[in-house]
């Protein structure tokens, strides 16, 4: 992993079209500004992980979903 040190207001570039800027630092939170083409999906990592885990949950739950949605339950 590449690790860089940046100060508030400084930025870094990823490729030709993505810019990441440190907007401000609030305690242990870093507020980032991102400039990227609309085709680039920018997501919080934990959200992507959560959706991924939920997709796997859904894959494991097929029989139970069917059972719970049976008419007359």
């Amino acid at each position: 992993m590449l690790v860089l040190t940046r100060r508030t207001g400084q930025s870094l570039r990823i490729g030709d079209s993505i810019e990441l800027q440190v907007v401000r630092i609030e305690g242990d939170r870093v507020v980032l500004g991102i400039i990227a083409p609309p085709t680039v999906r920018v997501l919080r990592g934990e959200l992507l992980d959560a959706v991924s885990a939920e997709v796997r949950e859904a894959a494991d739950a097929r029989a139970r979903v069917r059972d719970l949605l049976k008419p007359g339950r």
């Binding site: 959200l47 991924s52 939920e54 997709v55 894959a59 739950a61 097929r62 139970r64 979903v65």
Partner: protein, 125 residues
């Protein structure tokens, strides 16, 4: 709703966390709100899903308004089971948007309270 004769769905980028799962056989029954997606790439992998309008009326239009889906696209929601006692939940944070003609889809990842990961499903219309 996907027509009963539509039997194949392609999601070129795969599902989130399952990039190898790109092709699915769609088992739909006009009499049921449930659609079964069976992976033709990954043995044993399958899902039950339901059209978004049957789970949260009006939310599909909201996706269109936000630019996440086009007006004619079908939105399927993956169903899972959580809780004690167990109940069916809908993954509104990861809807699958499908073009109804070419049957090519994409799974979105949506932020915000409107799109919970485990929305309770009381009943399906």
């Amino acid at each position: 709703m996907i027509d009963a004769d539509v039997t194949q769905l392609t999601i070129p980028e795969g599902l989130v966390g399952l990039p190898a799962a790109t092709r699915f056989a769609v088992h739909a029954d006009d009499a049921s709100p449930i659609v079964e997606l069976v992976s033709t790439d990954v043995s044993g992998l399958g899902f039950l899903a339901s059209p978004l309008e049957g789970i949260r009326p009006g939310l599909r239009e909201r996706l269109v308004e936000l630019g996440h889906a086009a007006a004619g696209e079908v939105v399927l929601i993956l169903l899972a089971v959580h809780g004690d006692p167990p109940s069916v939940t809908a993954n509104l944070a990861g809807p699958i948007v499908i073009h109804p003609v070419d049957r090519i889809g994409r799974q979105l990842v949506l932020e915000g309270d409107e799109f919970p990961l485990r929305a309770p499903v009381a009943m399906l219309d």
